[in-house]
Symmetry: C2
Subunit: 316 residues, 2 copies
């Protein structure tokens, strides 16, 4: 099959990459669309020391494997747990210490014609959800993860820091709770996208310091943390969404002095994300910038890495 | 009166410092004992830009002020709230944005013959509690604050990082919940003090990495954070107790990847601390290294700043 392969130095199209094998537990999924996210861009800079086929945002259809899934349109949770440890037993395979992670750690990903996914990780895509919407399930689930971790009440003052794709999705999801959500970002055009779905927006240049019950740091930049810390009320909550490669250089004294609750938040469950896509309670397709054929993978990655770019998709 | 005065450069004994005034709301407390804590040492390095009389750990007796308190032995909560804001209304005057803080921010402290304290901040010291025990109420309350913020269950695996006074008190308090508490530190003699109260101890040189449900960072050193982060299980809790002057230089990615809950924890309520002292469920007097007369304040501070030193007290 064709696949984009990362050897640690270069991303190249391999036209005869070995097609993965299916089994009773492992489905072979023909990829319809795959999304390039900033974790992929970090991986192509060396993050996680990954080698193989990147890509963990995808929608496809099952071509081989468990009979009940054959031909079905699916999306897939990206953490492949061992199924035997304490975390897996508690439904937290995304924290399994022995996990592999699609396109990130010890498992090939979706920048290819086919990807192998444990059947247990797959979710059927409702008919009402297009491929262009379904490919956002994984990042949307990461936004819904916040609601698994933080109790938000109607009227709570919430600030989302960052107007990129993750910030956009977080703002939309948090708004569903009835909280008063404000998005703060650097880019007028990106903030417009967020404003369109009914979230109050503020351009960073116009920012007047004030305090919020909950702040979500989704800038993807180390510098976001200091502003985030300054905007949380005493005993308030700061949700960290950005994984930043390298060290922070920041005073953490405000966490102690103001008794802030800092919650790290990563991957989420797919069910609430698919439900929101089916109910059209969130809007994701305006986030798509361009769809590239898989063969133009290098160009697509280059485009995704440019500042101000919305979501770049690959179609194999 | 005599008082130790910090002018931003030097700490000097002033034998004719103005005795503070009492009123119906403000009690004048004759200080029996005052403790030197590491925040005081930071203040004498410039922290908070404080000028005046330092000291916020004290026990004394009311010599002037509200009649019902006259002659009573008291300790006092150190945050003086405005009494009118939202935080004060919620009983969180220690987060009042307009607060002054005894010996730390806009209010003279207890390294003096007398200190003025709002009557609302005072707590009577039970007869069974000696002055030498009562002077630990403030730091002990800071340890009890953790139990206000984190739900600990019997059998939870808890690690306290740091074998200093705060680490010692935290380990003792957390042990009262029935949790399995381990203390990790650098100093054999200090760990012995902790071991004596029934807490398992590990010398840093013998540390074998493993994961805990809850980790309390009480080292007072910026380098403690990295070890603390590495010892929290996925979705576990890290309590930050140390206020460190200056910046941390640390990767915070583990917080996100392992979805750790980081809780800043500062001052606490005095009632549970006084109750524990009365019931003798915690042991504090072995932490006393030496009692100095107020007139030898500079020498006392110098002694307190030496590594390995336990609690230094001042007797005015």
């Amino acid at each position: 099959m064709r696949a984009l392969h990362w050897n640690g130095q270069r991303l190249t199209l391999d036209s005869s990459y070995a097609t993965p094998l299916a089994s009773e537990q492992i489905a072979l999924v023909r990829v319809h669309l795959a999304g390039i996210c900033s974790t992929d861009l970090q991986i192509l800079k060396g993050y996680m020391g990954f080698r193989g086929v990147p890509g963990h945002e995808f929608v496809g259809s099952v071509s081989e494997g468990p009979g009940s899934l054959l031909g079905k349109r699916v999306v897939g949770e990206i953490n492949f747990g061992c199924g035997r440890c304490e975390n897996c037993a508690r439904g937290l395979s995304r924290h399994c210490p022995n996990r592999s992670v699609m396109g990130i750690l010890n498992a090939d990903g979706a920048f290819a014609e086919y990807v192998a996914v444990p059947a247990a990780n797959l979710h059927l895509v409702p008919d009402k959800v297009s491929d262009e919407e379904a490919v956002f399930t994984e990042p949307l689930a990461a936004a819904f993860e916040i609601l698994e971790q933080v109790q938000l009440d109607p009227g709570d003052q919430v600030l989302v820091l960052g107007d990129g794709k993750l910030g956009n999705l977080c703002a939309q999801v948090l708004r569903l709770t009835g909280a008063n959500v404000t998005a703060l970002g650097k880019h007028e055009d990106k903030l417009k996208l967020i404003k369109r779905v009914g979230v109050r927006t503020i351009l960073l240049n116009d920012w007047q310091p004030r305090l919020f019950d909950v702040v979500v740091e989704a800038t993807g930049s180390p510098s976001g943390l200091e502003l985030a810390l300054s905007a949380v009320r005493p005993r308030g909550t700061l949700v960290l969404k950005s994984t930043v490669a390298g060290n922070h250089d920041v005073s953490l004294a405000p966490i102690v002095i103001n008794e802030i609750n800092v919650i790290g938040s990563r991957c989420g469950l797919f069910a609430p994300a698919l439900e929101a896509l089916e109910e059209k309670s969130v809007s994701v397709t305006p986030l798509i910038e361009k769809v590239y054929p898989l063969n133009d993978g290098s160009e697509a990655v280059e485009h995704a890495a440019r500042r101000e770019t919305r979501k770049i998709l690959l179609r194999p």
